[in-house]
């Protein structure tokens, strides 16, 4: 998947999340009287918002590396994690409203309008932040966590503000909710990818075979390559690739590669890699698969 296509996909995932959430939240709003309190009602909204966006974004990595098992697993992990994030976000927003709300917005009208909008904006920001952290937690990668932290913070803040502001200014307008959700999803996707590119230690571009053209961003300390679905780069359908074939390591900004097995074919510019760090335009052979390493915009 080329970088452009990856960006388009991520944006589409954000929009799909918004599309799925819109009717869900509209239905929830209709059944508002069934909730015993505002707290539970907003908790339900947060959990649903987090779960749906978490599921869609959680499956993204699986789609990028063309691994269906990874995509489905990421979907479930993202949904569960996002639901938790939604609860935490809403509770934090409420806590903020209780702690600072009466000091910041002293009159009832301000508390019930601007105060509430800011508190829910804060909740959406936190949900965005946690959803963006999903991939970093899944991959146990500090760089991915940093990408998620910054991408989620920026995307969540922009998207959360838009979502909250739109529902504040057009409360009875279902279209404004859809627009707010779409902006939220898009902001999250775009901000994540911007920071992913910014913090990557280069990219491996796959040159041949069925998955040719895919960009694999080096962001984690260890990137496992092999034919097994649990690898980070899944080379299904490539001859001569072991289930776990090689590991690309990132250490102090230096990228190196090592074979996972003695007889696994790993070549760097047609030679044994022998622990040297990768430089731009190096050609890496993993079995019959070939990558070129570099920074691609």
């Amino acid at each position: 998947m080329s970088l452009t296509l990856k960006r388009v996909f991520m944006a589409v995932f954000g929009l799909l999340g918004a599309l799925a959430l819109w009717p869900i939240l509209l239905a929830l709003q209709y059944w508002q009287p069934a909730f015993p309190s505002y707290l539970l009602y907003s908790l339900a909204q947060g959990v649903l918002l987090g779960a749906v966006f978490g599921a869609f974004f959680g499956s993204f990595e699986g789609v990028v590396v063309s691994s269906r098992p990874k995509a489905f697993k990421g979907f479930l992990f993202g949904a569960a994690f996002g639901a938790g994030a939604g609860a935490v976000g809403v509770l934090a927003g409420q806590l903020f409203l209780f702690a600072a709300g009466s000091a910041l917005w002293k009159s009832a009208s301000a508390r019930n309008s601007v105060g509430l909008a800011v508190a829910s904006g804060l909740a959406w920001t936190l949900i965005g932040l946690f959803v963006a952290l999903t991939e970093g937690l899944r991959a146990r990668s500090s760089r991915k966590l940093l990408v998620g932290l910054l991408g989620g913070l920026l995307g969540g803040l922009l998207g959360g503000t838009a979502l909250s502001a739109l529902s504040h200014f057009f409360p009875g307008e279902p279209a404004s909710l859809l627009a707010g959700l779409a902006i939220f999803g898009l902001c999250l996707a775009v901000a994540y990818l911007v920071f992913e590119n910014r913090f990557s230690a280069g990219t491996l571009l796959l040159l041949n075979g069925p998955l040719k053209g895919k960009h694999y961003v080096v962001l984690s300390k260890a990137l496992r390559i092999g034919s097994a679905p649990e690898c980070d780069i899944v080379l299904k359908g490539y001859p001569g690739v072991e289930p776990v074939h090689a590991t690309v390591r990132l250490n102090g900004g230096k990228v190196s590669v090592e074979a996972a097995k003695a007889d696994a074919r790993v070549l760097l510019n047609d030679e044994a890699p022998s622990r040297r760090s990768l430089k731009a335009e190096d050609v890496l052979a993993i079995g019959k698969a070939k990558f070129i390493y570099g920074y691609f915009a």
């Binding site: 296509l5 996909f9 589409v12 995932f13 799909l16 599309l19 799925a20 819109w22 009717p23 939240l25 509209l26 239905a27 209709y30 508002q32 009287p33 069934a34 015993p36 309190s37 505002y38 499956s59 789609v63 063309s66 269906r68 409420q94 209780f98 709300g101 009466s102 002293k106 009159s107 009832a108 009208s109 508390r111 019930n112 509430l116 829910s120 979502l163 529902s167 057009f170 409360p171 009875g172 307008e173 279902p174 909710l177 075979g209 069925p210 040719k212 053209g213 895919k214 359908g237 490539y238 001859p239 070549l267 510019n269 047609d270 335009e281 190096d282 050609v283 019959k288 698969a289 070939k290």
Partner: protein, 487 residues
């Protein structure tokens, strides 16, 4: 314990109500301070003595809530106190008219008798009122005519207000207008920030006479800003402030009474300082005698809620009071019953997602060829198929793979040879080129090899699966052919 609490509350309520001589039942203020945290709404009720349940001693009170003002649901009462306003103190705000007419006598004539001036009579009554406030009460004060002077900010002390009264001076003619409703709105803006029971007492001796509309020039403080009695009521209801209006003198603003009642308060008329003093005393006694009732609020859709209180008075009358308040909304509101297309939309989003997951955008090539890796824009994806035993790559327009744009590229730079018997591709070149960053002049190629021809980088591509199949097939053939030999 509960019964004792109720009984005590009621005894006090009865005593206070009796003292104040309240007639009907009214909801004077609705507080939403704890709505979002503990789902509680507070009502301040002015009631006559109420009948009590003989068993529990609880007063006969019921609270109902509605999202549309039509269908009401009963709500549980969580707390009731008749001493709340005495315990917590009352937040007063005095809004005093200081227009030109206040500096005349009650008949509207100029006079040298200082004590006969309306403003002096108002000051006397106000001083008496301030002297009676409890230490827990707070008071703010503003004076208005064309301009608005915030004399004592809300939450101030009685002695500060008394001092401010001494500073009132006769306005210049241009400042002598009665900017009544705009001043009430400005008072509400600052007063709404006070916590607790908020009582705004406005004293005016005339009709609203706004500067901008009457003089045709913008108001020196508010420009062309205007407001209406309706907007003032709306503001007071949203922020839970009760307005008490005192019409001083014969000339009365026609809408001031409605405005006070719309906010949950009352309007009074006074002709001299004694009546004025007694009105102030009544207002405070009324507020002190109010019941503070907390109830568990419902979750009706939308931000506007109606609340209805029903009570039975001690003398057997059925009393009802209805008012509305505003709650917040999160993520908007929806009153449309969910429809089938909601499900379709959700399903569509998930199906589209599934399609993207299952979609294989990449396809294995079944042809051998070369692809430009870092070509000029637009040429990046171009794939040159390799056909026949010899394929020439170069800058010449008639080369098999003709690449333009690189002056260092020779017209015939390298040739890829195809050996059909071995199914092998080999690149040959007179001048050294690099394959996978290794300098060569001849090299057998495999799928994915990166060729650098004087700066033009191409990738050699060939089907991996076809090769793998062919290899398996050759191994099989060899096995078969070896069998007869063994025999």
């Amino acid at each position: 314990m509960r019964a004792i609490k109720y009984t005590l509350a009621m005894l006090l309520a009865l005593a206070a109500a009796g003292f104040a001589g309240a007639q009907g039942l009214s909801i004077t203020q609705i507080g939403t301070e704890r709505l979002l945290s503990s789902q509680e709404t507070r009502l301040y009720l002015a009631t006559p003595p109420l009948a009590t349940d003989p068993a529990t001693g609880a007063p006969s009170l019921e609270v109902w809530e509605s999202g549309d003002g039509v269908d009401y649901d009963p709500r549980p009462i969580t707390g009731l106190s008749s001493t709340e306003n005495a315990d917590e103190g009352i937040r007063f705000f005095l809004l005093v008219d200081n227009s030109g007419s206040m500096w005349t006598d009650m008949a509207g004539a100029d006079t040298d008798d200082l004590a006969a001036l309306r403003v002096e009579r108002a000051k006397t009554a106000a001083r008496a009122f301030l002297a009676e406030l409890s230490a827990k009460d707070t008071v703010g004060m503003a004076v208005f005519n064309t301009r608005y002077w915030s004399a004592v900010p809300p939450g101030g002390q009685a002695n500060e207000a008394a001092r401010a009264l001494d500073e009132l001076s006769k306005p210049a003619p241009a400042d002598a207008y009665t900017e009544l409703y705009l001043s009430m709105e400005r008072a509400l803006e600052s007063f709404a920030l006070e916590p607790g029971r908020r009582v705004l007492i406005v004293l005016s001796d005339g009709e609203n006479f706004p500067y901008a509309q009457m003089s045709g020039k913008p108001n020196p403080e508010t420009g062309t800003r205007q407001t209406t009695p309706e907007a003032v009521i709306e503001r007071a209801v949203r922020d839970g402030v009760t307005i008490y209006a005192v019409r001083f003198g014969a000339q009365k603003d026609p809408r001031l009474g409605d405005t006070a009642e719309g906010s949950g308060g009352r309007a009074f008329d006074a002709m001299n300082e004694n009546e004025l003093t007694s009105i102030y005393r009544t207002i405070r006694a009324d507020v002190l005698s109010e019941l503070a009732l907390d109830y568990k609020a419902g979750m009706e859709r939308g931000e506007k809620r109606w609340v209805k209180v029903e009570a039975l008075s001690a003398d057997g009358r059925r009393l009802t009071a209805v008012r509305h308040y505003y709650a917040g909304t999160i993520l908007g509101q929806n009153t449309v019953r969910p429809e089938l297309w909601y499900l379709f939309l959700i399903a569509a989003a998930f199906l589209l997602w599934l399609a993207l997951v299952l979609l294989r955008l990449e396809r294995e090539t079944d042809k051998a060829g070369v692809r430009l890796l870092f070509g000029t824009h637009g040429q990046q994806t171009r794939f040159f198929e390799i056909a026949g035993p010899q394929t020439v790559i170069g800058a010449a327009p008639d080369a098999d793979v003709s690449i333009a744009g690189n002056p260092s590229l020779k017209s015939s730079h390298a040739t890829i040879l195809f050996d059909e018997a071995k199914d092998a591709y080999t690149v040959v070149s007179d001048t050294p080129i690099t394959v996978n960053n290794k300098e060569v002049t001849r090299r057998r190629l495999e799928s994915g090899d990166v060729l650098n021809l004087a700066g033009t980088v191409v990738v050699f591509d060939d089907s991996l699966l076809k090769k793998a199949k062919a290899m398996r097939a050759r191994i099989k053939t060899r096995k078969y052919s070896s069998r007869p030999d063994r025999r």
